[in-house]
């Protein structure tokens, strides 16, 4: 038996199949993973993400601390509520975790980090916070629900008090705000519009039921994974970990190289990797043959070498299999994947595969 979120009983009531996820008993699906996937692409779905870790950082030097801790630069965050996606690196330039940081005020930033990496993240943050006299406070007794899909905000808005609702609905993507005892952020992990809502654990069941009644479909970790794969959003532990450079995990866009005198943890090794001509590519694959791409399958690129699928699966939106893969350096557009001893043909395609309900792949999908 693992840890249970404040919504565990609601999952059972909705017929969830429960699985272990990083020590938590979480819903895998509530009947059909594919239908949950389509609900998010076409209307609205909700995910219990209460297992994720919320950490508040406070102190006069908190901005300075985060400019040292994170590979992205919180100096980009000047407007209260603005959020930023970043890697947190070790000295070797490997990824300890990926996270979202919110600028609340000049002495308060909020981090949302992964559940499976909670302990090492907190230890790392605390270890480095001391020199900056920054206080690290994990938020507990909270639940977090992600409502995602083109209709999600409209259907979920009733949970926000009148006083805040209009402002919340007007909030731009990648911002968060406090709304009474809720924290509402226009963020997510599906490639669709929506909110992630942090709420007191005591209110979670009532709000979940309210969302159900509004027609928001409960969705499990299965749909969460196919949705994030279509959106080409990385999964920590699959696409990157402490042994992987963010530059070989499609995270180059999250590294703030300027200003050059900002000395964030891991910067030295990262610059060496940036200059390395043999640095691996991180690409999207579309399977042209029939079959399903899976994690760890071997990618064979004729004349260039071999790589590996880091996240593979079936795309319910496209109706074919897609994958994220780390592959050899070089300019090529075709490759093959070893699926149970057979070499199947894949195309290298730009990512995301799907965004806001639309397939982004150009060219014919057989």
């Amino acid at each position: 038996m693992g840890a249970k979120t404040p919504l565990y009983e609601e999952h059972l009531a909705a017929g969830a199949k429960i699985v272990d996820f990083g020590g938590w008993d979480m819903p895998l699906h509530y009947g059909s993973q594919k239908e949950e996937h389509h609900a998010v692409r076409q209307a609205a779905g909700m995910f219990d993400v209460s297992h994720m870790t919320i950490v508040d950082l406070t102190g006069e030097r908190v901005r300075e601390f985060l400019r040292n801790l994170l590979a992205n630069d919180v100096e980009k965050l000047q407007e209260p509520g603005k959020a930023l996606y970043s890697a947190m690196l070790n000295e070797a330039g490997g990824v300890i975790d990926d996270l979202i940081v919110y600028f609340m005020d000049e002495e308060w930033f909020r981090l949302v980090v992964n559940a499976a990496t909670r302990d090492k993240d907190l230890a790392w943050i605390r270890q480095h916070a001391e020199a900056f006299s920054v206080t690290v406070t994990e938020q507990t007794d909270r639940a977090m629900v992600a409502v995602q899909g083109p209709k999600a905000r409209e259907l979920a808005a009733a949970c926000i008090d009148d006083e805040w609702r209009e402002q919340a609905l007007a909030m731009q993507p990648f911002f968060g705000m406090e709304a009474g005892d809720l924290f509402v952020a226009r963020t997510g992990y599906t490639g669709e519009d929506g909110w992630e809502i942090v709420m007191p654990a005591t209110r979670a069941a009532q709000i979940w039921k309210q969302f159900l009644a509004a027609g928001i479909a409960p969705c499990g970790l299965g749909a969460r994974d196919t949705l994030r794969l279509e959106a080409a959003m990385n999964l920590y532990g699959s696409d990157m970990d402490e042994a992987v450079s963010p530059l070989e995990a499609g995270m180059g866009w999250t590294i703030a190289w300027e200003p050059t005198d900002r000395n964030f943890i891991g910067r030295g090794k990262l610059q060496e990797k940036k200059a390395d001509p043999d640095r691996q590519r991180f690409v999207g694959l579309l399977l042209d043959d029939k079959g399903v791409l899976r994690n760890h399958q071997r990618v064979v690129v004729d004349g260039f070498g071999e790589g590996e699928i880091t996240s593979g699966g079936f795309s319910p939106t496209i109706g074919r299999s897609i994958a994220l893969a780390r592959v050899p350096a070089g300019d090529y557009r075709q490759a093959q994947v070893d699926v149970r001893g057979k070499l199947l043909n894949v195309r290298i395609v730009p990512t995301p595969f799907v965004r806001n309900g639309k397939i982004k792949i150009e060219g014919e999908i057989k």
Binding site: L28, S32, K34, G222, T226, K290, G291, V292, G313, F314
Partner: protein
């Protein structure tokens, strides 16, 4: 509670077998198996005329979650495969004992019923898995 027709034979690998009037045997996966796999998205079928060896690879069923091998429950020759699964693998989810059949086999020898499970024995196996 999964559906379990009384006129079929079963295996501990969650396959079902039905004897046809012409002496051939139709094979599929059980309702329990399709439910555990979830929405199926791809089925890799054997070739017609392929020789199967009992316990050897016969097909692969892939759901959004995972790939799962289907082993040949008996030795024999593949007479027919359910080509419709190529375009519509979810037939297995919708109708595992009917339109979701996978392979029809001409047995190489008399079927050893002692190596297979009667419906009540398969039910016992499911109960034990749940416990």
């Amino acid at each position: 509670m999964s559906d379990l027709p009384g006129d079929l034979m079963y295996t501990s690998e969650h396959e079902w077998l039905r004897r046809e009037d012409d002496g051939s045997v139709t094979v599929g996966i059980t309702d329990h198996a399709q439910s555990a796999l979830g929405d199926l998205v791809y089925v890799e079928l054997p070739e017609v005329d392929q020789e199967l060896e009992s316990g050897g690879d016969m097909a692969v069923v892939e759901s959004v979650k995972a790939a799962s091998d289907v082993y040949a429950p008996i030795s024999g020759t593949v007479l027919a495969v359910n080509e419709e699964l190529g375009d519509d693998p979810e037939k297995i989810n919708a109708d595992p004992y009917g339109e979701g059949w996978i392979v029809r086999v001409q047995p190489a020898e008399a079927i050893d019923e002692g190596a297979l499970l009667a419906p009540k024995d398969y039910q016992t196996l499911l109960d034990e898995e749940d416990a």
